[in-house]
């Protein structure tokens, strides 16, 4: 009982630990006897260890992230004869061979046929039955590969664990020999031997390729060398095709993005040097047999020279990936002149960046190796200078694609000069110059072309496809790290603008992703930035990104998340405003953040919180407007806050105050009214009229309301004419027409009311016709369908369906939606259900919002009656 490999003295009891392990290592039926023997007379020690052993057994698989051997799965079951003898499927576990990124490998025993096998238990959280089925199917396909050089896969299965989860495993041939790297180190085979060995490996790989299986993870650790009785060496390749199954069945953590972000660093570090450029680029569809040829080239280089052709070890992953994509590999002859000629050429050919230029197959590479061994001329030839020049162009695909986009841009009418780019290319411009040009191009395309397309009817598809095309450029730019802060900012500011554009065309998910990327880039830069102006700038950008993220959630998702985004934005921006003053760009942003936070608060029933934010915003807005009296935008911002205060007053039942605020807003905005206004401004003028009209309607001034609402409808129609994909204006128009129909009816214009009502319903229906209408689309359409006039046009059943969907998708905390739902239920003649929904409205209203509570309670009483 000597446990000597602890180079430290445990402060506790060394015996306890040693005996604990001794009993665990012993066979199950011998454990108790061993414990008794080792503890001798010491009953306290025995009790102590028994307790620990008990807890070792009791501790569930998940405790502290799991036991090593159990690797987060409970698939290794204790068999009935106690601990120490464990089972996966029909295999009895003997010992752990190793733990890798994918899971744990055990040596295990099988009874029929009686043999030792290797069990690879996959650490994963497989999603569904169908994924598991696919896993087993694919593994079965791998099992059909029979080759003495391939470690045979006997079986793939899934063991279910106690928690109801599933842990897939492979049972495969247990390979005896050392791995290739160990083998070469220990046996030091000569060059000819090595070339022969690699040719063998290439032929084995070819066998699999012919059966449609690409290895994807060839490296010395995955190749073992067995020595036959006659002393000959036979390579055996492990894990064929497993990498792909892992990716295909979702073991790779989805959403982690490109391979370079995979969480499994340890494994990645071991694999990276052998990964081909197409693999590190994260293009799974580009990976084929030639990716394995690349790995074979790296392998050959490493075996011959003891070095890697591209120095990527110990580098950060992103850096390593860049080197693999763009770096020129070391020439074999610089390490040993003996490799000049054929061998160097074979390696270089296998390692070409462009798969088309590599050996077309592993067999072709094997063939060249064999030709060299028998002194026949090899078929590969050294790369020519022209080809090398071509490489440059290929590697800078980004710019080449950008050029293609420029041509597209030109053809759609934007004025673009490619001269700068061409000149730069000719001069092989510096990295920074290229960066500038790429960002300029991206900006140009995003701004000009997309804006032009806004004005084209049905431009949404083209606009979206262009946005999608330009997104990778910004992503790429945001990954670059130029030292100059102005440059680094272009990338994330571009991403933010893109996020906004995506939101504007209704692509919530893309918007969310793009903005999150911007946020990540800024946060990363902030961490690496000291104090000073840059930091303030970056912080302001962060606030800007958060503001947009909040907006996206506010419009298309979860309001409570939106609220937090806005609050975050305020936290980032406030210190800047405190340091630099209110009448600054940061002040403007802070005002916006406060206004929007106010909106969210108001939507969730906190009227006093909303008022507080609005008043704070107004103070900032007024400071900005006073500082730049000629700025339309600054004036507009003041009116934005006025308008909200007006809406708030209206909710609180103070219709006079509401009309005052809103009339002020309309008046100020009408002053902006000029023929060439951008559609966003027109929209803002329109909603001011609409708001005023709504209050007038409520106050019983139907004639005034008709006038205001007509103005609103007219202006909104103009917006949509200018920008047919403008979701916001479309929604606004639907409710404006709906209000107009009611105002017309109340003023006695029945026919006109019916026309306006029908138009509102038609528009609402068209908003729902999209394959996946957004939450706001559903909510607006639902309210139109129950409030339109005349009542014969109403469709409460459809409204109910839509509003329930909207509630489900938005997290269910929006009281306007619940109000709509209650109304719809009431119209459907289900007063009890309506009362329940209305009850929910009351729950959502803040206890301090007495005015709205009273209103809601009155409504509830109506439903209960």
């Amino acid at each position: 009982m000597t446990e000597t490999n602890h180079p430290y003295t445990p402060a506790g009891d060394a015996d306890t630990e040693a005996i604990f392990h001794a009993v665990l290592d012993a066979r199950a039926d011998e454990g108790a006897a061993l414990l008794a023997r080792l503890c001798g007379e010491d009953m306290i020690l025995k009790a102590r260890i028994e307790s620990l052993l008990g807890h070792d057994r009791q501790a569930g698989e998940g405790f502290l992230g799991g036991l090593a051997e159990d690797a987060l799965t409970g698939a290794v079951e204790g068999s009935p004869d106690g601990p120490g003898s464990k089972q996966i499927g029909r295999y009895r576990i003997l010992r752990v061979l190793g733990e890798g990124g994918m899971g744990v490998v055990y040596e295990a025993e099988q009874d029929h046929p009686r043999r030792r096998v290797a069990i690879k238990l996959v650490r994963s959280a497989f999603a569904s039955r169908s994924v598991l089925a696919r896993f087993e199917r694919e593994a079965a396909a791998l099992g059909r590969m029979r080759h003495p050089g391939i470690a045979q896969i006997y079986e793939a299965g899934t063991a279910s664990d106690a928690g109801g989860g599933s842990a897939p495993y492979f049972a495969m041939e247990l390979v005896e020999g050392p791995s290739l790297d160990v083998f070469v180190r220990e046996r030091a085979p000569g060059v000819r031997m090595l070339l022969g060995l690699v040719a063998d490996i290439a032929e084995i790989v070819q066998y699999a390729h012919e059966r449609g299986v690409v290895h994807r993870d060839l490296k010395p650790a995955n190749i073992h060398v067995e020595t036959a009785p006659d002393g000959s060496w036979h390579p055996k390749v492990l894990d064929f095709g497993i990498a792909r199954i892992m990716e295909a069945t979702g073991t790779d953590t989805a959403g982690a993005g490109p391979a370079s972000l995979r969480t499994d660093m340890g494994q990645l570090l071991g694999t990276l040097p052998y990964m081909s450029p197409e693999q590190v680029a994260g293009e799974p569809e580009a990976i084929d047999a030639r990716s394995d040829v690349y790995a074979l080239g790296v392998l050959l280089f490493e075996l011959l020279s003891g070095k890697l052709p591209l120095d990527v070890r110990g580098r950060p992953i992103a850096e390593a990936a860049r080197i693999i994509r763009d770096g020129d590999p070391m020439r074999l002859s610089t390490i040993d002149r003996a490799f000049r000629g054929d061998i160097e050429t074979i390696v270089a050919r296998a390692m070409e960046k462009d798969p088309d230029r590599r050996y077309p197959s592993a067999a072709a590479m094997a063939e060249d190796l064999r030709r060299h061994l028998r002194d026949a001329p090899i078929l590969a030839r050294p790369t020519s200078r022209i080809e090398q020049a071509m490489k440059f162009v290929r590697r800078h695909r980004t710019l080449v694609t950008a050029a293609t986009l420029v041509i597209l841009a030109t053809s759609t009418g934007a004025v673009v000069s490619t001269g700068a780019w061409l000149r730069a290319e000719r001069e092989r411009a510096s990295a920074e110059r290229r960066y500038d040009i790429a960002s300029e191009l991206s900006e140009l395309i995003r701004r000009d072309v997309v804006d032009v397309l806004n004005r084209v009817p049905d431009g949404r598809a083209i606009r979206l496809s262009l946005l999608r095309k330009v997104t990778p450029f910004y992503e790429e730019l945001s990954r670059e790290r130029p030292g100059d802060p102005a440059r680094i900012r272009t990338a994330w500011l571009g991403l933010i603008a893109l996020g906004r554009d995506y939101e504007a065309v209704g692509e919530i998910e893309l918007a969310r992703r793009t903005l999150e990327q911007a946020e990540v880039a800024i946060r990363a830069a902030l961490v690496a930035t000291g104090t000073g102006t840059d930091r303030l700038l970056f912080q302001e950008d962060l606030g800007w990104a958060l503001l947009h993220e909040g907006w996206v959630e506010h419009r298309g998702g979860d309001r409570s998340v939106a609220r937090e985004h806005y609050a975050d934005a305020i936290r980032e921006l406030s210190p800047i405003v405190a340091a630099t003053g209110k009448a600054t760009s940061a002040g403007e942003k802070l005002a916006l953040a406060r206004r929007r936070l106010g909106d969210v608060l108001n939507d969730s029933g906190d009227a006093s919180g909303a008022e507080r934010e609005y008043l704070a915003a107004l103070e900032l807005d007024e400071a900005c407007a006073a500082a730049s009296p000629t700025s339309d935008e600054a004036r507009m911002n003041v009116t934005r806050t006025w308008r909200r205060l007006g809406q708030l007053a209206r909710q609180q039942g103070d219709l006079d105050a509401a009309r005052r605020w809103l009339a002020r807003t309309v008046e100020a905005r009408d002053r902006l009214n000029a023929p060439a206004l951008p559609s966003a401004t027109v929209h803002n003028i329109a909603v001011a009229h609409q708001d005023l009209g709504a209050v007038e309607l409520e106050a019983g001034a139907a004639a005034d309301a008709v006038r205001s609402l007509r103005m609103g409808v007219e202006l909104l129609e103009r917006c949509i004419e200018l920008e047919p994909t403008d979701v916001l204006s479309i929604q606004q128009l639907a409710s404006c027409r709906m209000l107009l129909s009611t105002a017309l009816e109340r003023s006695g214009a029945t026919d006109a009311a019916r026309l306006a009502g029908q138009a509102a319903v038609d528009l609402a229906k068209s908003m729902l016709a999209r394959s996946d209408p957004s939450v706001t689309n559903r909510a607006v359409a639902a309210s139109v369908l129950i409030e339109v006039s005349p009542t014969s046009l109403r469709e409460p059943a459809e409204a109910l369906r839509q509003i329930e969907q909207a509630i489900a998708e938005s997290g269910g905390e929006d009281l306007t939606m619940w109000t709509t739902k209650a109304k719809a239920l009431h119209q459907l003649g289900r007063p009890a259900d309506a009362a329940d929904a209305q009850q929910r409205v009351l729950e959502l209203l803040s206890p301090h919002d007495s005015r709205r509570r009273a209103e809601a309670e009155a409504q509830l009483a109506v439903y209960r009656k």
Partner: protein
């Protein structure tokens, strides 16, 4: 009226950048310096990581849809990629990073649990369930604080096992990587882990009573 989606850190949202002490050396440089043995650099890594990890944890938890688990491993690695992913840092710098990251993760989570526990007085104390300690990011406050206590007991007995638990549970590192960091074999790490687990499980289950000492 907090809905389930409000996020898991509703009450400890501090402006992390503002609260950080101003620093002028970027992380990469600090890591390199720490690798060269500059004590001061290593000690300054922690606050940096603290801020970054907290920001990450918060933003992720807020946006991770219910049902998707979020692993500490992923966060630490993500922080790594963000903080050092782009620049050249000697391989040796990684060790300092993961140590610091695991410690930062531990501190952040324990501190947060403490703060919440002090504010929310639960009416009845329930028994600690060790099995809820599967992932540090989603473990309940009570369990996390109990684990922290138990780990302190472990630290008194055996500092290396304490570090091992930090690295494994809070840092999410693999055994091979831990072995490299602690400078022992992987087998030793796995044995230590098994013992530490049983030891902690025992304390957490309330089975241990007073420390049993031998004369």
């Amino acid at each position: 009226m907090m809905g389930p989606k409000t996020g898991m850190f509703p009450d400890v949202r501090m402006p992390h950048h503002a609260s950080e002490p101003p620093h002028d050396r970027p992380v990469t440089e600090l890591l390199a310096a720490a690798a060269r043995g500059e004590e001061e650099a290593a000690s300054r890594l922690l606050p940096l990581l603290y801020g970054e990890l907290r920001a990450l944890a918060e933003s992720r938890l807020r946006r991770t849809p219910a049902g998707n688990t979020l692993q500490a491993t992923a966060l630490v690695h993500e922080a790594y990629v963000r903080l050092v992913g782009k620049s050249e840092v000697a391989y040796e710098g990684r060790g300092h990073f993961f140590f610091a990251a695991a410690r930062a993760m531990h501190d952040i989570l324990v501190e947060r649990a403490r703060r919440r526990a002090s504010r929310v007085r639960s009416e009845a104390t329930r028994a600690i369930d060790p099995e809820l300690l599967g992932d540090p990011l989603v473990a309940p406050d009570e369990e996390l604080l109990a684990l922290h206590q138990a780990m302190e007991t472990l630290r008194e007995r055996d500092a290396r096992k304490h570090e091992l638990v930090l690295l494994r549970f809070f840092g999410g590192l693999e055994f091979a990587a831990i072995a490299e960091l602690l400078g022992v074999s992987e087998r030793t790490v796995m044995r230590d882990w098994r013992f530490a687990r049983a030891f902690l499980h025992e304390i957490l289950s309330g089975d241990r009573g007073d420390e049993v000492t031998r004369d």
